[in-house]
């Protein structure tokens, strides 16, 4: 596949992530921060987010698995995930966290367990999407092309 085709495929793929709500405008802020002095910024911050979130999700799973659930602790973890996901533009993860927090306040164990499943699902989905997108970018760069800027006109 030649570079132009790869670039078009990347643009279409990235646009679909915005259209389907996986990413929001905050992600564009990150792309704009990337420049020649820091060409791997997006890859680095996305990897950091994905690794750190996985840890948070494990902590959440453990916290909700206790006989006496410490909802304050659970809420603190969810709050952190909400902050990092919103900062990176992972919209669906962020929205799942918002719902999660309201059930934490109610100390509703069944609902919070369902929320945890929901957040995990959104996390794995966005992880998959972001990794695919970054792989496409890598292929373009490896073939000597440049990564096209996304214009969101909708």
């Amino acid at each position: 596949m030649e570079v132009g085709q790869m670039q078009r495929r990347l643009v279409d793929y990235t646009k679909s992530l915005f259209m389907e709500g996986f990413l929001d405008a905050q992600f564009l802020q990150l792309q704009q921060l990337q420049d020649e002095s820091n060409p791997d910024f997006v890859v680095e911050v996305v990897s950091l987010f994905l690794d750190d979130s996985e840890k948070l999700l494990n902590d959440l799973t453990m916290a909700l698995d206790q006989p006496n659930v410490d909802f304050k602790k659970v809420d603190a973890h969810v709050h952190q995930l909400k902050g990092s996901s919103s900062s990176i533009g992972a919209q669906r993860v962020k929205n799942a966290c918002i719902a999660f927090r309201s059930f934490c306040e109610e100390q509703n164990i069944d609902a919070t367990l369902r929320c945890l499943q929901q957040v995990k699902q959104e996390y794995y989905l966005v992880k998959n999407k972001l990794e695919t997108m970054l792989r496409l970018e890598q292929q373009i760069v490896a073939a000597g092309g440049s990564i096209p800027m996304i214009e969101l006109g909708f």
Binding site: L30, L33, V45, L48, D52, I88
Partner: protein, 153 residues
């Protein structure tokens, strides 16, 4: 280390390291950013550097406080997350306002009015809701200038 000329609240004379907004205004603004979340901290650092600020980052409030105490006149402004495990942003804010004369901006994903109110009441010069955009950070120098103007009366 820059030799500091005494009292942090005197704004007229500037030591060699002080930011007085003259030449490359507001580039060179000396910012300390505190957040226990590594993703957020990395993004803030990059955004602040893109604003041409001089950035020091910390992932613990306790560490931030010792840095500020040891290097009193080497920072112009502090940006801190609210919810942190060891010491939260409010406590850090209280220490800073009582011990030093630095403007503090609080940041949080928590937009509840009572929390924002608490921050502002305790002396935060601003309270930003995550996600923070770079455009917002480009304007934080105003808090430094405003504070200095109030102090030189």
């Amino acid at each position: 280390m820059n030799p500091s000329n005494g009292n942090g609240s005197m704004s007229t004379a500037s030591s060699s390291g002080a930011w007085d907004g003259r030449d490359q205004f507001p580039a060179g603004l000396r910012v300390l950013v505190v957040d226990d979340d590594p993703t957020c901290l990395m993004i803030f650092e990059k955004m602040l550097k893109a604003c041409l600020y001089q950035v020091t980052k910390c992932n613990k409030a306790e560490t931030a406080l010792s840095v500020l105490r040891e290097h009193k006149n080497e920072f112009d402004i502090v940006i801190s997350d609210v919810h942190m495990p060891d010491m939260d942003g409010f406590e850090l804010l209280k220490h800073i306002t009582s011990e030093m004369d630095l403007p503090v901006i609080l940041i949080s994903a928590d937009a509840r009015k009572q929390v924002v109110m608490e921050g502002v009441t305790y002396g935060a010069c601003d309270y930003l809701i995550k996600p923070v955009r770079i455009e917002t950070l480009k304007n934080i120098w105003q808090h430094v200038v405003r504070k200095k103007a109030r102090n030189t009366v």
